[in-house]
Amino acid sequence: MLQIKDLTFTVENTDPGASGQKTILDRFNYTFEHGKFYGITGPNGSGKTSLAKVIMGINPVTSGRIVFEGNDITDLSITDRAKSGIAYSFQNPARFKGISFRQLLSIAAETDDESVLQKIVARVGICSLDFLEKSVDAKLSGGEIKKIELATTIARNPKLAIYDEPDTGIDLWTIGPMIDLLKKEQKNHQTTTIVVSHNKNFLEAADTILILKKGKFVYEGDLDGAIHLLTDLSTCTLPDLCEGENDVRCFR
């Protein structure tokens, strides 16, 4: 469904005293299968969001190829990737002055037909119809904007949906319905789903867990097999700097 071939992504190294390029994804290879639900996790800075953004075309590929449904999309724009069936849900969604949820949903669904928009809101389920009138601006709470982000992603009817940290800002009571929604989309529409998350609830819902570390997948399998690795990761993401549990500079 989605093949990533020998993909490298580098950025300018802005670390203090550093120069040159910093490698985020290093000759990365993986094939995502049609209709499966993937949970990508890993320590902070491991390249999870970078990988998701490379797939959507937000980050440019340094080298390597990306093939989606048999077509090489490496050189396609974000727009063309969206039109080919890839949708992306941002961790920190953009806010707009003067654009309502209705307008955003109309763009996503490519229609302003009221009945279609209402069906999408009903299908998403986690936000009420009165949400349509809300301006997608700074007045929205973190939870509200994430619900809108989710709805616009689903409104695309994507073949491949990528969700970057979908639980950011979401209250505990909404996480369950959100996971149910993504699973329902996977089942009813065979949506290939990639969720980047640290949240155990999302990882439990995934068919395959992928742990990313230093720009490579270091684990592929079920959650049970990943637990000991995830426990290590949750303990400390800076093992090289760790000076033990008596280190007073450690705030973890």
Binding site: M56, I58, S77, I78, T79, A82, K83, A87, Y88, F90, N92, P93, A94, R95, F96, K97, G98, I99, Q103, L104, I107, A108, E110, S135, D137, K139, T152, R156
Partner: protein, 311 residues
Amino acid sequence: MLDALDKELLKTVADLEGLPKGAYNIRKNGKLLGRKISANINIETNAEGTGIIISVAPNTQNESVHIPVILSEAGLHDVVYNSFIIGENADVTIIAGCGIHCGSDKKEGHEGIHDFTVHANARMTYIEKHYAFGKGKGQRTLNPTTKVLLKQNAYAEMILEQIGGVDTAQRVNEAILEDGASLLIKENVLTEDTQIANSTNQIVLNGKDSSANLIARSVIKGDSKQDFIASMEANNKCYGHIECDAIILDNGTSDTVPSLKARHPDAELTHEASIGKIADDQLMKLMSLGLTYDEAVNHIIQGFLDRRVDV
């Protein structure tokens, strides 16, 4: 009486497909083109012959008056002084605006000086749109001035727009608010090429529990320049807010100077201002929904300049 150009200008600046229902006064090339009064809204030429006086009777409810101006005569610089008197407890909508068609190399311009007295408990919605077009290279100038006096518990909502084609604009808005009065101004200005627009605003909150909200949105394209100066002076227990945002495209420039003057210990004044290019995350989001870069830019600008106000 209305030719095709007139109709296009009227449609653009006043949303009119033809002559409006209700009271109206249409001015073309410095002369009266048509006038109609209603039982509650009177329009008469002022004593000096330099403009009109529009009087809305007390208790008038849900009526409107259109007063558009159109210019298509080469070399004409039209200046008008219009007065608006809104009676107590009235609720009225005034649709003004000026459209210029420039077909030659000669300058064309309009200066509309509008002063409003909104009496106690009255509500006024004022919509003013300015637009110029045409193949002529002559400079198009539009210099609107509004001066508003809001009496006790009066309310005014003013939508002031300049939507393109105007080479130079000196925009002035002044308001004085008495006890309990409330004012909302939303000014949208779009400039392009080498156009220049200056907006100077002075709002004085004299009344107890008066409130004012000034929202300015600027879109600055090409090599154009927009300066925005706003002063809000509070002389009583009151609330005032200035919000001025500018989007710069291409090589546009802007000076934005919001000024708050609290002259009373219970005054509450706030302002927020931002100038910058369209945020990348906004473009990425819309492109990820299938829009091209240019479509995304247009949507963002249209939303930014939307008349609706979320306060």
